[in-house]
Symmetry: C2
Subunit: 404 residues, 2 copies
């Protein structure tokens, strides 16, 4: 049975985007990174090569339709993803023959065929982008461009046709817009966190003497894939290797008495999950108990601070001071948390140099890890959304030193 | 048991790189994309965010050691991957405590600890890059920069310190160096092709009435992951959906009489595999036989043309003319193959506008697909290496219309 296409919904906050564009006197923003394209369209369109250019245009006017600039060979992907909320501008040759009248078809083929019939091909990506802006009535107006994933020569070519010959770099502006999550995005981030924790619980269940770190990492990655997600950083470190912050290779077979640190990252529909816990196989030593409790106190302190109007840097200072006071006097960190969304590190970190204030709708991963080479590492990482009077957890697992 | 680290070997052709740098009067190249970094180091170092900057420096002098510029938090990854063939220049704060003397450790922790003790931290990525060039004795000399994955403001800052205030864009130069594969790279590409075909054969074995396209796609992705690879584009299209060139969503349950088209892509240690075949469940119709034979003749024609000195565009023209002559008079294509390597589309395509000549050591995917909406699609895609007097297959599967 051929399933109908479900149309993607996008997380974009058009009102906030319009306000921030107006404040910078920009008539539109051009997204070039998959994350910002996803923010506008509700679906990622990944290029298969660095030279392939894919853009999405977000007009300041909240009711104006976004536009997508893609190579012709991506029309079929647009049709399969059911992207119908944006106007399409295509470039480069791609040949597909045939007709579908009276022949076997599916909804995506119908849409693909109609797109092939009705879409004008432009000479190149910049010509297609300029046609989109002209159609939007924005030709000659100031435009910001997400500068991170556009070929520099094409950016220069495009900027040449703008007022003053310049396009304002807009990657940071996109991140600023994305700081405050829409209810749709909070729900997506909740799903990512819940999936991540469900699989993390499976890993805890699998821990036993003789199990290789690699088995746990592979279980995680395959489980994420089966759930329709994309696994990313998979820190699974046992024994002395629990002290390694990032883990990308797996060397150790778990032994009784090992502490195992998890810091697990995935993407689901583009939205990141990033959670972590620490487990001991057998009895925890007094050293483990002591250091875990210190870390956990710092994490609690960070959460106690979280509410609208509080500076990110103040959350940081309070959490670090608490860990130092509770038993790790030499404790140092570069941050005790970060915003999460379409990027693993969205804008705002709970760090000494970030003096911006928290606002309702920000989604943060709060983490106060400790890494001691020659001894072990500890992690508690949870995801929260800042609410009007505090915060709400998107994560559910117990916040304890797990025992197996 | 803790396994020792195996040191990565890189595919870089230092002699060819030196010649092409000399021809452009460049003292060094700076890689910024994961592909070009992998080319230099033999290992990918992926940034977790667009703002995170990772570079590798390849000096023109073939005996000079490459350098890596990374945030401090990537030192542990360098240690786990066993990257010891490059000098390290780090930036930004990252805190790990402890000592390992007389304590439980592993080879990667030993290396990580020694790196933490012996690596100077620089203020930022450009300061680290400048320190690397100064240490190489290349300060003030002309340098090319892979312009595709460096933050534009940082590129401008770096270029300001170069002769004439400019860095030559070097993404294309890296691709030109990578056109001719080293024996190490050919072996890696053979492994990717062999793995891809082994899993493709499993998909053919799984084909039966009632099997969903999605099951085949998921089997492919999980099998690639289990083999240590990364699955990418997974075109599995049955019945009318076999005519869709790129497939990213799966809608159809296979029925008797369906033709199923595979075009499957993976990465293994950074090197791409991209192969394809077509299968019929039950008896092929005369229309299927006719069109498959036309496509297969074009593919044979392309291969007959492949040898050093032949223009890529001449291979294209001959293949398309042959398909037209053998039974699809309206046949059109934008290319009949592409170079493959650390990018899915490396430099050189068998296309009407690419008049460069083939050279020994080029690795090409040769494909002459046909897509007819309302009818079906056909694919044969193989990987070859150009040799002194022709070519050698890296792929092994039969080149037939498979029957199930």
């Amino acid at each position: 049975m051929d399933k109908p296409i479900s149309m993607p919904v996008s997380g974009v906050n058009r009102t906030r985007a319009a306000e921030l564009m107006a404040a910078s006197s920009l008539a539109a923003l051009v997204a070039t990174t998959p994350e910002n394209i996803n923010y506008i369209l509700g679906s990622q369109l990944r290029a298969s090569n660095w030279t392939m250019q894919i853009y999405a245009v977000l007009p300041q006017e909240p009711d104006a339709r976004p536009c997508v600039i893609i190579p012709t060979n991506r029309l079929g992907v647009i049709a399969q993803m059911g992207i119908t909320g944006a106007d399409l501008y295509v470039y480069s040759d791609f040949f597909v023959e045939g007709s579908i009248e009276g022949k076997p078809s599916t909804p995506d083929i119908d849409l693909f065929y109609s797109l092939l019939q009705n879409t004008t091909t432009h000479a190149g990506p910049i010509e297609a982008l300029e046609a989109a802006l002209e159609q939007l009535g924005l030709k000659g107006q100031a435009v910001g461009v997400d500068e991170m994933r556009i070929a520099p020569d094409l950016l220069a070519k495009f900027a040449g046709g703008l007022p003053g010959g310049q396009a304002m770099p807009a990657y940071k502006l996109f991140r600023q817009i994305r700081q405050i999550k829409t209810p749709f995005e909070i729900e997506r981030l909740r799903q990512s966190a819940v999936l991540n924790e469900a699989i993390e619980q499976q890993l805890i269940d699998l821990i036993a003497a003789g199990v290789h770190e690699k088995e746990l990492a592979e279980h995680y990655r395959l489980a994420v894939m089966r759930a329709g997600g994309t696994p990313a950083m998979t820190a699974v470190g046992a024994g002395p290797r629990s002290a390694l912050p990032l883990i990308e290779n797996y060397f150790r077979v778990i032994e009784p008495g090992d502490q195992i640190r998890f810091d697990l990252c995935l993407q689901l529909d583009g939205y990141w999950g990033d959670t972590g816990r620490t487990v001991v196989l057998g009895e925890a030593t007094p050293w483990m108990e002591h250091h875990f409790q210190a870390v956990r106190s710092g994490w609690e302190q960070a959460l106690e601070m979280v509410r609208p109007g509080v500076k990110a840097s103040d959350v940081f200072q309070a959490a670090v001071a608490r860990v130092q006071k509770e038993g790790i006097p030499h404790y140092r960190r570069q941050h005790v948390g970060h915003a999460i969304g379409l990027e693993l590190y969205d804008d705002i970190t709970l760090s000494p140099g970030d003096h911006r204030v928290l606002e309702p709708g920000m989604v943060l991963c709060v983490e106060v890890p400790y890494y001691e080479l020659g001894a072990g590492g500890f992690q508690i990482e949870d995801t929260i959304v800042v609410t009007a009077d505090g915060y709400e957890f998107l994560t559910q697992m117990e916040r304890k030193l797990f025992r197996k």
